[in-house]
Subunit: 349 residues, 2 copies
């Protein structure tokens, strides 16, 4: 029995009732569309039910476009997560990419591939999670597809947001001398995954809940991405693959190097206590916290910090872009180097 969030009263997978094979595809589509239509989308001229949805873009905006798939037994297990949480997570992963562009979510489409033996109630709960999470961030679920599959469940979300024409956070705009800034606290989601894989052990209830929530119910940093963009930042992205990987990507795309200061990284307090041998790996080498990273020149940084609202995830300067190439991890600014922890990935190798 895997650990569960103690306060969770959510309906788990396989709670009984009719299956997809019982109701058939047409009825399933009708029910999914019914849920989607309860939410009120901006700019939507024609919703689900025709060959395609029709949406009106606003003047002088451009579209940021991303697509992310969650595959059962790779990205989630039914015993770990509720159907509602799974729907939220599928949206969150995609909206996090939009947050990483500084974009405002506008619409998305979601494909659900599930075996005929899957509970209809489970799929409807997934759809409620998708639609609720999307709506919270101003995003309409305008369509999608459902398909039978003789294998793992697949959720695939294409999400589109808007940015002012020509203005967005890109990976390749960092320069030596820029500060490396991250939002929030790192390592909780990886710690939550560790608990799900290995069991809870002696972790306190507060840490357990915080870490499982970070893994099972992450939040996209949409507001923080827009704050960065509004403050004049033009280089940034989300950290779905962890700080080390994302810092290296940013450095490589920008043709420079990056230096990370271990003592400046905002690591969850319980992590060092409970994982004395692997907290660096959890906080820097593993992803899924879905926080943002940005490279910010010194003048913009001062204004950014002074104007950063207390309601947003806190900003932390965790290093600097430097000349050369690659990422170096050091104990503290000007201090000795620390060996890079391994980077974990659940895909292919």
């Amino acid at each position: 029995m895997p650990p569960t969030r103690s306060t969770s009263t959510h309906r788990p997978f396989d709670a009984g009732g009719p299956t997809l094979a019982d109701v058939g595809e047409a009825e399933l589509l009708r029910r999914l569309t019914e849920i989607a239509s309860e939410h009120s989308p901006a700019g939507l001229r024609l919703g689900s039910g025709d060959d395609a949805a029709v949406w009106s873009p606003q003047l002088a905006t451009e579209l940021a476009i991303t697509q992310d798939a969650l595959v059962e037994n790779r990205d989630f297990r039914r015993s770990w997560i509720t159907p509602r949480q799974l729907g939220v997570r599928a949206i969150t992963v995609a909206l996090s990419d939009l947050a990483g562009m500084g974009a405002s979510p506008a619409w998305c489409t979601a494909t659900i591939c599930a075996a005929g033996s899957t509970g209809l109630g489970d799929v409807l709960e997934i759809q409620r999670g998708l639609c609720n999470a999307a709506e919270e961030f101003g995003c309409a679920v305008v369509g999608g597809d459902v398909s039978d599959i003789d294998g793992p469940m697949v959720l695939d979300v294409c999400a589109v947001g808007t940015v002012p024409a020509g203005i967005f956070l890109r990976r390749d705009a960092a320069r030596p001398g820029d500060a490396i800034v991250v939002t929030g606290t790192l390592g909780r989601a990886a710690a939550g995954l560790r608990l799900l894989m290995d069991g809870v052990g002696k972790v306190t209830a507060a840490d357990r809940d915080s870490w499982l929530d970070a893994q099972l119910a992450p939040r996209p940093r949409v507001g923080e991405g827009r704050l960065l963009l509004d403050a004049g930042v033009r280089c940034g992205g989300d950290m779905s693959d962890g700080l080390l990987v994302e810092a290296e990507r940013t450095a490589a795309a920008s043709g420079c190097g990056a230096e990370l200061w271990l003592d400046a990284v905002p690591v969850d307090a319980g992590l060092q206590r409970h994982f004395p041998d692997s907290w660096i790996e959890l906080a820097l080498g593993a992803g899924e916290d879905f926080e943002l990273i940005a490279a910010v020149d010194p003048a913009t940084l001062a204004a950014l910090r002074s104007g950063w609202p207390a309601s947003a995830q806190p900003l932390h300067v965790v290093g600097a872009m430097v000349g050369g190439a690659g990422v170096q991890l050091i104990e503290s600014a000007g201090g000795p180097p620390v060996s890079l922890p391994p980077v974990s990935s659940r895909h292919y190798r």
Copy 2:
């Protein structure tokens, strides 16, 4: 050994070489992006490689949005189709929905879920098929996702096209008295599927090639959709699920009935010869020809027919929208009713 298109010299699945597990996800993404970037998209400001692609919509246009998944052993089998054809098919299914709106394809994203044992060469061929087919119709492959899956391969395409603001083909705009019009010839794709399932038998080489091509390499009727829209037609869609189902959907959405005239349906000539007992089912009850259906008022119909170019798929009037509800199939206009054939679907039930 299933029948193959006699002139096909294409590379089949499982042709050897490194697998996805051999190269890893980062290298796979790099190779897929490399293929996508060989094609020149209109309106694309930032392509694959960042958190999201960025695309500029044109003034006074709206977006038609659709998503379609192909699942292995439900929508295709690796022994039937080449990887290149599979990529083309995934795009075609999505672009057919855009054609059904009268939209001009603009961009798409494609997710590929495949087991680590899948050949890298196969996935690159799928991507070439996707990108070539998209480019042919003015559509850029701007991103997507790849994921390991311990099960069937899944291709999921989100496709977006543009229409003039407020002007598109919708399902719910038919009126009693409208002519029901279809493009092209019906039944070939279903006959091709029958050959793949049951073997070729005594079918001539010409019929075999024509039917297998229709099933394995269908074409989206993008040009025909735009012609309908330009001629003033406002009710229509694609026939991915076959004439009977699509006529019923159109009638139901429009609050009227539909009458189909069997002798007017453009059925492939070989179908009646080779499938004397099931040709009606193949031509009317099965889909995947990806032709278009439209409901056209008499005044528009005259102009539409006279202006229809010879290079487009031929237009056929196959019935009329009537009062009441539901679809009736009759031998010929004013003739006796014929019982409706069964409708086939490969999903759920």
